[in-house]
């Protein structure tokens, strides 16, 4: 379903809360030239790190690659394009993409190399950078609980980017630790509504 060259938003923070089963399958099928939008590229053997290690990522948009020497090496050699974005800006650009906004105004990055090529906008005497919205062909989400309909809830710090990217991908593919009958997740505890989830996969 995911073609070569697809753009993918992938949940997870240093590998915690990443959709490992979908990542493993992308590696098995050797899907190439992927554009990955994620917080980080984890470590070489974990989460998104596996895609980088297999040489399948053409471009990454991320906030931190410091714990993955593979990514740093591939960036310096030119095998992979890495666009580094402040973490708070990255998540808000994704949120904007999923919320129908054109972008956001943030003070983060003003006066640093991050502002290069961006519009600076003054509001009430304060400078902000215009950071544009991000979308992707696919959002690869990992949840803790999913009911049969696709309502999702998340666990602890495995939540991170997941509920935000679920809004910003054209097709939303979810792996869940536990798939449960409808009603097990109380309506008040549903974080991502089933209506936006396209595919649900048991994690093991």
């Amino acid at each position: 379903m995911i073609p070569n060259g697809a753009s993918l938003m992938i949940g997870g923070f240093m590998g915690a809360g990443s959709p490992e089963r979908v990542i493993d399958e992308l590696v098995r099928q050797r899907k190439r030239d992927l554009v990955v939008i994620a917080n980080d590229t984890a470590t070489p053997a974990k989460g998104i790190g596996k895609l980088v290690a297999a040489g399948l990522v053409g471009k990454a948009i991320a906030s931190h690659i410091g714990l993955n020497p593979d990514t740093q090496k591939k960036m310096i050699s030119g095998d992979m394009i890495v666009d580094l974005v402040p973490q708070g800006t990255l998540i808000e650009r994704i949120r904007a993409g999923g919320c129908g906004l054109g972008g956001i105004l943030t003070p983060t990055g003003v006066g640093t190399v991050v502002e290069e090529g961006k519009r600076k906008i003054e509001v009430d005497g304060k400078s902000y950078l215009l950071e544009t919205a991000l979308h992707a062909d696919f959002a690869l989400v990992h949840a803790f609980l999913a009911d049969y309909l696709g309502n999702l809830s998340y666990a602890l710090t495995a939540r991170n980017f997941n509920p935000v990217i679920a809004m910003a991908g054209d097709t939303v593919i979810v792996t869940a630790d536990h798939i449960v009958p409808m009603g097990v997740i109380a309506p008040d505890h549903v974080v991502t509504p089933a209506a936006i989830v396209d595919y649900l996969i048991a994690n093991r």
């Binding site: 402040p86 708070g88 800006t89 003070p107 710090t157």
Partner: protein, 216 residues
Amino acid sequence: MDAPTIIAKRIARELRSGMLVNLGIGIPTLVANHVPAGVSVFFQSENGLIGTGPVPEEGMSDPLLTDAGGGPVTALPGACTFDSAMSFALIRGGHLTMTVLGALQVDALGRLANWMIPGKMVPGMGGAMDLVTGAKCVIVAMQHTAKGKPKIVKRCTLPLTSIRPVDLVVTEMAVVGFPNGRATLLEIAPGVTVAQVIEATEAPLDKADRIREMEL
């Protein structure tokens, strides 16, 4: 007492009950080990947790509960978790009382460089730019020099993290603040002289009216 302990203990004295505090990786993390008795603060991990507890004992870690470096961590009773948009809304939105970070360089104006060395080390800024731009109080925890070279410099030669000046730099030798936008020596560590601090600092240092000894 080794340098990291001196730095962490001195910074811990800045903590007050009810503060929401984010600690960076390295020396800043040690601050949590020296919270003064009777003081109760909320520690935030930017990956989505308030109420961060100590590192779990061997065999007690939960892969769903990690710190901002991806390592195992615990959550204290009363902890709460949230997504990354909420986490950075707390950071940027003026809700974070204090952030403690490491530094590669701090300049005479208090500006910080801590996220890359061009051509050598490009880990990415992670949450650092948002933390320095958004926190109400920014404290730098770092050794005074690196390989004998001063880290408090006239002007940062490395890319800046933010144009927002930090509030305090705490090293194993001294506490430096930036009242009136100029690097000012406020405190010296026990057994260290003012002359030694000036010698180990590239930026010109104003001297506070009364330079106190660091209380640890």
